[in-house]
Amino acid sequence: MLLINCPYCGERPELEFRYGGEAHIARPSDPAALSDELWTQYLYVRSNSKGVHAERWRHVHGCGRFFNALRNTVTDKFIATYKVGEPRPSAPEGRR
């Protein structure tokens, strides 16, 4: 089980959290204007990174808030967690 550092509550066990998928995917402001290909990109296509991955988590059994995290998907180690709206912290590429 992962230990996850909620930016609002601190470190808590994974059971308190719900995974929210890849982070920094903005919903297009005018979906009707989008081509089918771009809509597919938004809806279904994911980076599925092997290495550093930016993702959303929600502290459902705590503060209830969404936040973002950088995690290495090979080691499952968290590199950083940060509040929604804050820029993605820089992480060395391919860090293991």
Partner: protein, 417 residues
């Protein structure tokens, strides 16, 4: 390579079994092949076998970054069934099931396919409705699936507790009698041996590191840790690493990779005659011929390539198993492991062309790829050989995520992952 037979067994026994040969070669990669398959799991090896056998394409290399069958082929719970809900899936998985029935003979290798029946338990009214819907849909498609009352289910699987005092009472079950299990390693080995015999080169410890393309965009070669290999057709069958391999050609996929866990118990005498699955409380279990209980757990919630998975996921499944079969409460689990499964948004596979000329993909089998191995290889080989989708593979194109014609087995999966 000699054919396996009773006579061969006797001959080798006479010499103390000291003269068995390796079952496939370990060739150096050639400079070029007609088709290169990336990934020597069951699906990749089956693809190579059918390319050589049915389409006469024998200049085929299967590249594997690790060892043969060391990925999800060696990490699953070996369950075989074809009782899917939608027509497209039904015919695809049934195609595979029919191939399973004659596979040992076809490959001259005992894959230990054992149609012992797959029993899916219904614990509430919703389950009853859903499973009856599956039964009707399957029977309309000519696929065996039948509804059993709780008493009939108990008769088919005596260890089942159908008393009403259970926390999750059994109200009935759907049974596919032709469903069952097979020996997962034997499937990889059998296909490897048969493909090798037809001239396919299986190259282990050979990781693909790049995909080369002509100015037109078409593929021309793969870069590997054992040098460049030229080819005009590449079939990527890399399961959890599909996104990684296709990124080498600049493609992004509608796929996410998750760890899926399984575990086995200490071996015991035969106690469980069939495969038992329970969607509602998330448990599936069967007993291997060695006597171990083989138990499948769920996926972790987050994207990962770690091949581990969290303990609370397995604990949750064991809770469910102990609830269903109280007699297993004191059994010890011997091993657990994780495989990285490639999950699509509609939980159906992707088989066919990509937007890059010459680059084909067979992926997205998610949490249930083992059962499809022969059928998957068969239709993908035809797709690669004819350079157009096999009719059974056509609905599973990558374009469906753009056209919106999804094959939504997400709600129809045996256990919800």
């Amino acid at each position: 390579m000699s054919k396996f037979s009773f006579g061969a067994l006797l001959r080798h026994a006479a010499f103390g079994h000291t003269h068995w040969e390796p079952q496939w070669r370990s060739p150096e990669p050639q400079a070029a092949y007609e088709v290169v398959i990336v990934g020597a799991g069951g699906h990749g090896l089956a693809t190579a076998y059918y390319l050589a056998k049915e389409h006469g394409i024998r200049s085929v290399a299967v590249l594997e970054k690790g060892w043969l069958g060391g990925g999800n082929t060696g990490r699953n719970t070996t369950i075989i069934r074809s009782n899917y809900l939608w027509e497209e899936s039904e015919v695809l998985y049934e195609h595979a099931l029919k191939l399973w029935e004659t596979l040992s003979h076809e490959l001259n290798y005992n894959v230990m396919y054992s149609p012992r029946g797959v029993l899916m338990l219904a614990h509430n009214l919703h389950d009853v409705h859903v499973f009856k819907r599956h039964v009707h849909a399957n029977r309309l498609a000519g696929i065996d699936n039948e509804w059993l009352t709780a008493a009939e289910a108990k008769k088919f699987c005596p260890p089942l507790d159908i008393s009403s005092g259970m926390r999750h009472p059994v109200l009935g079950a759907a049974l596919q009698r032709r469903g069952g299990v097979a020996r997962h390693d034997a499937v990889a080995w059998g296909y490897a041996r048969a493909a090798d015999r037809l001239g396919v080169d299986i190259i282990e410890n050979c990781e693909v590191t790049g995909i080369r393309r002509a100015p037109s965009g078409a593929v021309t070669a793969v870069d590997t840790t054992r040098g460049e290999i030229r080819t005009r057709r590449i079939g990527v069958v890399a399961a959890g690493h599909t996104s990684v391999v296709l990124a080498m050609a600049g493609l992004r996929m509608p796929i996410e990779s998750f760890p899926l866990q399984a575990l086995v118990s200490e071996p015991v005498k035969p106690v469980l005659p069939c495969v038992v699955m329970s969607n509602t409380i998330h448990a599936y279990i069967s007993q291997s011929d060695k006597g171990e209980l083989v138990i499948g757990a769920g996926t972790d919630q987050y994207v990962s390539y770690s091949q581990r998975g969290a303990l609370h996921v397995t604990a949750h499944t064991l809770d469910a198993i102990c609830e269903l079969f109280p007699m297993f409460r004191r059994m010890r689990m011997l091993r657990n492991w994780g495989g990285i499964v490639d999950v699509t948004p509609d939980r159906s596979p992707i088989i066919g062309k990509t937007t890059v000329p010459g680059l084909y993909v067979n992926c997205g089998w998610g949490t249930g790829g083992f059962k499809a191995t022969p059928g998957s290889g068969h239709v993908f080989a035809a797709t690669l050989a004819r350079e157009e989708p096999h009719p059974l593979a056509a609905p599973f194109s990558l374009e469906r995520f753009t056209t919106g014609r999804l094959i939504d087995e997400a709600a129809a999966a045996a256990v919800s992952h």
